[in-house]
C-alpha cells in the first residue's frame, strides 16, 4: 500500500477540511482573547460560514462518484445529497442553539466546536466506503453529541439523557464493531467496494458473514431508532436541549440512514431471505410502535420523538425496496427525498418547541399551546403545516415524499408494507392533529411573552414555506437526485 496524498484527494475532502477549520476558529479566538467568549452572534456567523463553505465545496467537487485515499471515502450522489441535508439541518440546529435558553450564553464556542465536529463525523460517515471508516465517522458524530447534550445548562434531565445515550450508543457501536469483525473474518475485506461483488454469495452461503451483516444492521437500527432498538429515543429526545434534539432527529438520522443505505446497497437482502424478513417485520413493528405510542404522549418533544420512530419505519420500507431492487437508484432517491422532507418538517417543528421554551428546564406539553393561534397566528399556521405535512396530507412535501417512497415499495412488490404504512399514517393523523386542535380550538393563554427568538422564527417560517411549496415542484428535484445516484 502506498500512502501518497495527491491533490485530487484533498480537493474531494475539502468540505471536511473546511468544516474542521471552521470548528476551530471560535475556540482559537476564545483562547487568544484570554478565555473570554466572543459575541455569540460572531461565533454563530463563523460556524454558518463554515457550513456554507463546506456545502459549496461539496457541491463543486463531490457528487461524481470519485473516491479518495485508496477507496476509503467516496463522493457520490448519496454523499452529496445527504451531506447537503445534514449540513442544512446542522445549520438550522445551530440557529436554534443560538437562541435556546438551555444552550445559549456561556460555553457557546465550545458547543459550536462540538456541533461542527459532529457534522464532520457525519460527512465522514456518509462518504465512508470502508466499514472501519464508517465506524470512525459514527463514533466521531456520536461522541461529540454525548458531550453536547451533557453540556446543557439544564441540570437534571439532560445529564440523564446524555448518560443514557452514551451507554446505549456505545453498546450499539460495540455490536456494530463486532459485526465488522465477523464480516472481516469471513470475507477478508472491510472495503464496501470489494465486498460488493461477493456479498450476495456470501450472504447465501456463509453463516458467519450473515451474522456479521445482521450485527451491523442492528447497530444501525439502534442509531436510526428502529423498534425494538428504539427505547432510548423518547428519553434522550425529551431530555436533551431542544436544538440538540432537532439535530439528532434530523441530521443524525439522515446520515445514519445514508450509511445504512450503503450497507443495504451491497444487496445482502438479495442473498438472504431471512434478513429481508427480519427487516420487514422490524419495519412493521416500528411503524406501529411509533404511531401508537405517540398518541399517548403529552410532552410535545416526546410525541415528536415517537413520530420520528414511526418515520424511521416508513423509511425502512423504502430501504427494503432499495435493497431488493434491480434499479436501486429509484428507491434510494425516494429514501433520500423522504429524508429531506422529514428533516425540513422536523427542524421546523422543533424550532417552534425551542421557541416556546422559557427557561432551560422548561418542558413543553401539548396543552401549553392552547390559544397559541390567537397570539401568534403566523407561527401557529406554520406549525399546522408541519403537522399536516408530517401526517402526509397533500399538497405538502410530506405527501409527495410518502408517495415517492411507497411508490418505490409498491414497484418492488412490497404492497402489504405500503398498505401497512398508509394505514399507520392514518393512526398518526390523530396525534398530529392534536396540537392543531389545542392551538386553534381550545381557549387558553399560550405563554409567548418571552418568545422573542427572531432567528428561530425566521427558521420556522422558511421551513414552513418550503414544506408547503416544495412538494408541488418536487418532480425535477427527485429526478436530479435519482440521476446522481446511478
Amino acid at each position: 500500500m502506498n500512502f501518497t496524498v495527491d491533490m485530487g484527494d484533498l480537493l474531494l475532502t475539502s468540505p471536511l477540511i473546511a468544516l474542521f477549520i471552521a470548528s476551530l476558529i471560535p475556540l482559537t479566538i476564545k483562547v487568544l482573547k484570554g478565555n473570554i467568549e466572543q459575541k455569540p452572534i460572531a461565533t454563530l456567523t463563523q460556524a454558518l460560514l463554515g457550513i456554507i463553505a463546506a456545502a459549496g465545496l461539496l457541491v463543486s467537487f463531490g457528487g461524481e462518484g470519485n473516491t479518495a485515499f485508496n477507496s476509503v471515502l467516496v463522493f457520490d450522489g448519496i454523499t452529496l445529497w445527504t451531506g447537503l441535508i445534514a449540513l442544512a439541518a446542522g445549520a438550522g440546529a445551530l440557529i436554534l442553539m443560538f437562541e435556546n435558553p438551555a444552550t445559549r450564553g456561556t460555553q457557546f464556542s465550545e458547543l459550536i466546536f462540538l456541533t461542527l465536529s459532529s457534522i464532520l463525523g457525519m460527512l465522514i460517515l456518509i462518504s465512508a466506503l470502508d466499514l472501519l471508516m464508517i465506524f470512525i465517522g459514527l463514533e466521531m458524530m456520536s461522541l461529540s453529541l454525548y458531550l453536547m447534550i451533557g453540556m446543557s445548562h439544564e441540570q437534571r434531565l439532560s445529564k440523564e439523557s446524555a448518560f443514557k445515550y452514551f451507554v446505549l450508543g456505545s453498546f450499539a457501536s460495540a455490536i456494530f464493531l463486532f459485526g465488522i469483525s465477523f464480516i472481516f473474518g469471513s470475507s477478508g475485506q472491510t472495503n464496501i467496494l470489494q465486498l460488493l461483488e461477493s456479498t450476495v454469495q456470501l450472504a447465501q452461503g456463509n453463516q458467519l458473514f450473515l451474522f456479521g451483516i445482521v450485527l451491523v444492521t442492528v447497530g444501525f437500527c439502534f442509531k436510526v431508532s428502529i423498534a425494538p432498538f428504539h427505547a432510548w429515543t423518547p428519553d434522550v429526545y425529551q431530555g436533551a436541549p431542544t436544538p440538540h434534539t432537532a439535530f439528532m432527529a434530523t441530521a443524525v438520522k439522515v446520515v445514519s440512514f445514508a450509511a445504512f443505505l450503503r450497507i443495504i446497497a451491497m444487496k445482502p437482502l438479495v442473498g438472504s431471505e431471512s434478513l429481508f424478513d427480519i427487516l420487514q417485520w422490524l419495519a412493521v413493528i416500528t411503524m406501529l410502535v411509533g404511531n401508537t405510542a405517540a398518541i399517548l404522549q403529552n410532552n410535545l418533544k416526546r410525541m415528536l420523538a415517537y413520530s420520528s420512530i414511526a418515520h424511521s419505519g416508513y423509511l425502512l420500507v423504502g430501504l427494503l425496496a432499495a435493497g431488493i431492487s434491480n434499479n436501486g437508484s429509484f428507491a434510494a432517491s425516494g429514501v433520500i427525498f423522504y429524508l429531506f422532507a422529514y428533516s425540513l418538517m422536523t427542524i421546523g417543528s422543533f424550532a417552534l418547541v425551542s421557541m416556546m421554551e422559557k427557561t432551560e428546564d422548561h418542558s413543553l406539553d401539548v396543552d401549553d399551546l392552547a390559544g397559541f393561534a390567537k397570539r401568534r397566528p403566523a407561527l401557529a399556521l406554520c406549525f399546522s403545516i408541519f403537522m399536516l405535512s408530517l401526517a402526509g396530507m397533500p399538497p405538502s412535501i410530506g405527501f409527495f415524499s410518502k408517495f415517492y417512497l411507497f411508490n418505490a415499495a409498491i414497484g418492488e412488490g412490497l404492497i402489504w408494507l405500503a398498505v401497512w404504512g398508509v394505514l399507520n399514517s392514518v393512526i398518526s393523523v390523530y396525534y398530529y392533529l392534536r396540537p392543531i386542535v389545542v392551538m386553534y380550538m381550545r381557549e387558553g393563554d399560550a405563554d409567548v411573552s418571552h418568545a422573542g427568538h427572531f432567528a428561530t422564527a425566521i427558521t420556522i417560517i422558511v421551513t414552513a414555506a418550503l414544506t408547503l411549496l416544495l412538494g408541488v415542484v418536487s418532480g425535477p428535484l427527485l429526478a436530479l437526485v435519482e440521476a446522481s445516484l446511478v
Binding site: N407, V422, G475
Partner: protein, 506 residues
C-alpha cells in the same frame, strides 16, 4: 384556462382576504368574490357542447415527468352541474354565515374559499394524483370549519370526520399507485392519467375475491362509500352535521357528499366495469338499507338538524342504488338527485340555522305553533320540505322518479323496498313539520321575553334562489338533464370499453 381559473380563483380570494387590512370589509368582499366566482362559472354555459361525451375545456400539462403525473383538468356532462352547484351555493352560504359566524370571520372565509377550490378540483381533475391531492386537501378546511366554529362536541366530531375519511382514502392511494404500475406494464410509460387508466383491462375473476380488479374496486369504492356516506359507514355524518356551523353543514351536505357519489360515476363504474357489475348487489343492498334505516332513525330524532342529517343518509342511498343499477334512468336520476339533494338539504340546513339563530335550540319538542308567529319562514320551510320528500313539480320528484324507474328495470325487489323510503321520507318530514309549525305553541315560541321576528331581507335573498331552483328543476328537468345526456348515454353503452376522448383531438 377557464377551468384553472375556476379552480384557483378561490385560492386567490383566500390570499386577498388573508392579507386585507380592514376586518369589517371581509364579509362583503367574500360575498363579492363568491358572486364573481359564480359568474365565471356561468361562462362555461356558452361553450359547453351538450351533444358529446367528450372532454371539454381540456387543460393538460406534464407535472411530474418521471411518474407521468399530469396537471389535467377537463369537464364533461357528469361534472358540469356539480361545478355549477358548487359555485351557486357559495354566495348563499356566505350570506347565511353573516350572523352565525361572529368570531374569526377572516379565518372562516379563507377556509371556505380553499374548500371551494379543493372541491372543484376534485370534480374536474382527470389525473389520479391530482385528484387525490384535491380530494385530501378538501378535508383540511372542513376540519377547521367544524373544529373552530362548531358546537360543543366539535372536536370529537371533526376528528372523527377527518380520520374516518382519511382512513378510506389512503387505501385508494395505494390502489392508484398500483394502477400506475399497471399502465407502465401496458403502455411502457407510467401514467396517472385517468384516460390511460380507462384503457387498462384489469383481470377479473368473479368468484375470487382476491382477483386484482375486485381488490382495486373495493379500495376505491371504500374511499367513496365513506364520503357518501353509505350505510354502515355513515356514523361520522350525523356527528359532523350536528356540530358543524350552518355554513359548514351546507357545504358538507350540499357539495362534499356529492364528491363521493360523483366519484363512483367518474372512477369506479368505468374503471372496474366487471367488478362493479358483479358486486353491484352489495351496493344496492346497502343503499336500500341506508334508505330505510336513515328514514327510520330520522323519524325518532329529537333534534331537527340530526333529523336532516339522517335524511341525508336516506337520500344518498337513493343515489347509490341509482348509480349501481347502471342503466340510463338510474344514472341520470342519480346525477339529478345529487343536485336536488344539494339544493333541498342545503336549504334545510340554512333554514334550521335561521331558526337556531333566533332561539338557540334545535329541539323539536321546544317548538310548536311556529306557523302563526313566523308565516314567511313557514312558507319557505314548507316548500323545501316538499322538495325534500319529492312531491311532483318539485326537483326531488324528478330525481327520485328516474332512480326508481331505473331500479325497477334492473331489480323490482330493490325498487319495492326503496319505495317504502319515499313513504317514510314523507312521514318523518311532515311529522317534524307538524310538530314544529302547528299545534300548541312550544315554550320557545310562546316566550314573551324573546319575541321571534320573521325573515329579514338578507334571509329572503338567501331563500328565494333556492325556491326558484326547486321549481325550475322540478318543472323543466330536461333543460338540466340534456347537459349530462350524452355523457350518461356513453357510460351506459360503453360500460366495459369506456374510453373518453378529448374534444377536438383525434
Amino acid at each position: 384556462m377557464i377551468l384553472s381559473t375556476l379552480v384557483f380563483l378561490p385560492v386567490l380570494f383566500a390570499l386577498i382576504l388573508a392579507l386585507w387590512p380592514q376586518k369589517n370589509m371581509i364579509r362583503p368582499m367574500a360575498l363579492v368574490f363568491s358572486l364573481i366566482h359564480f359568474a365565471v362559472g356561468l361562462i362555461v354555459f356558452q361553450d359547453f357542447d351538450t351533444s358529446t361525451a367528450q372532454l371539454q375545456f381540456v387543460e393538460k400539462h406534464m407535472w411530474i415527468e418521471k411518474f407521468g403525473i399530469q396537471y389535467f383538468l377537463a369537464m364533461d356532462g357528469i361534472s358540469f352541474w356539480l361545478v355549477q352547484l358548487t359555485t351557486f351555493l357559495a354566495p348563499l352560504i356566505i350570506l347565511a354565515s353573516w350572523n352565525s359566524i361572529s368570531e374569526k370571520v377572516r379565518g372562516f372565509h379563507i377556509c371556505f374559499f380553499i374548500l371551494q377550490s379543493a372541491m372543484l378540483g376534485s370534480f374536474l381533475a382527470f389525473d389520479a394524483i391530482l385528484f387525490y391531492v384535491f380530494w385530501e386537501l378538501s378535508l383540511i378546511p372542513m376540519y377547521f370549519i367544524v373544529g373552530i366554529w362548531g358546537g360543543s362536541r366539535r372536536i370529537y366530531a371533526t376528528l372523527k370526520f377527518f380520520i374516518y375519511t382519511m382512513a378510506g382514502s389512503v387505501l385508494m392511494l395505494v390502489a392508484i399507485i398500483y394502477m400506475m404500475y399497471l399502465t407502465q406494464q401496458a403502455f411502457g410509460q407510467m401514467s396517472s392519467n385517468l384516460l390511460d387508466f380507462y384503457k387498462l383491462s384489469i383481470p377479473f375473476i368473479g368468484s375470487d375475491f382476491f382477483s386484482m380488479q375486485t381488490l382495486l374496486f373495493f379500495a376505491f369504492a371504500l374511499a367513496f362509500a365513506i364520503k357518501v356516506p353509505l350505510f354502515p359507514l355513515h356514523t361520522w355524518l350525523p356527528d359532523a352535521h350536528v356540530e358543524a356551523p350552518t355554513p359548514g353543514s351546507v357545504v358538507l351536505a350540499g357539495v362534499m357528499l356529492k364528491m363521493g357519489t360523483f366519484c363512483y360515476m367518474r372512477w369506479v363504474l368505468p374503471l372496474f366495469p366487471e367488478a362493479s357489475e358483479y358486486w353491484a348487489w352489495i351496493f344496492i343492498m346497502l343503499g336500500v338499507i341506508g334508505i330505510i334505516y336513515g328514514a327510520l332513525v330520522a323519524m325518532v330524532q329529537p333534534d331537527i338538524k340530526k333529523l336532516v342529517a339522517y335524511s341525508s343518509v336516506s337520500h344518498m342511498g337513493y343515489i347509490i342504488i341509482g348509480l349501481f343499477v347502471m342503466n340510463h334512468q338510474g344514472l341520470q336520476g342519480g346525477l339529478y338527485q345529487m343536485l336536488n339533494h344539494g339544493i333541498s338539504t342545503g336549504a334545510l340546513f340554512i333554514l334550521i340555522g335561521m331558526i337556531y339563530e333566533r332561539t338557540h335550540s334545535r329541539e323539536i319538542s321546544q317548538y310548536g305553533g311556529l306557523a302563526s308567529v313566523l308565516p314567511n319562514f313557514t312558507i319557505f320551510f314548507f316548500i323545501i320540505t316538499l322538495s325534500s320528500i319529492a312531491v311532483p313539480l318539485t326537483n326531488g320528484f324528478v330525481g327520485e322518479f328516474l332512480i326508481l324507474l331505473g331500479v325497477y328495470k334492473a331489480s323490482p325487489w330493490a325498487a319495492g323496498f326503496a319505495v317504502t323510503g319515499v313513504v317514510l321520507g314523507a312521514a318523518y318530514m311532515l311529522w317534524m313539520f307538524k310538530r314544529v309549525f302547528y299545534g300548541e305553541k312550544g315554550p320557545l315560541v310562546a316566550d314573551e321575553k324573546h319575541p321571534l321576528i320573521d325573515l329579514n331581507v338578507r334571509e329572503f335573498v338567501i331563500l328565494v334562489p333556492f325556491v326558484i331552483m326547486v321549481f325550475v328543476m322540478g318543472i323543466f328537468p330536461n333543460h338540466f338533464l340534456k347537459y349530462s345526456e350524452a355523457s350518461i348515454d356513453y357510460l351506459v353503452k360503453n360500460k366495459s370499453s369506456y374510453q373518453l376522448t378529448i374534444k377536438g383531438e383525434q
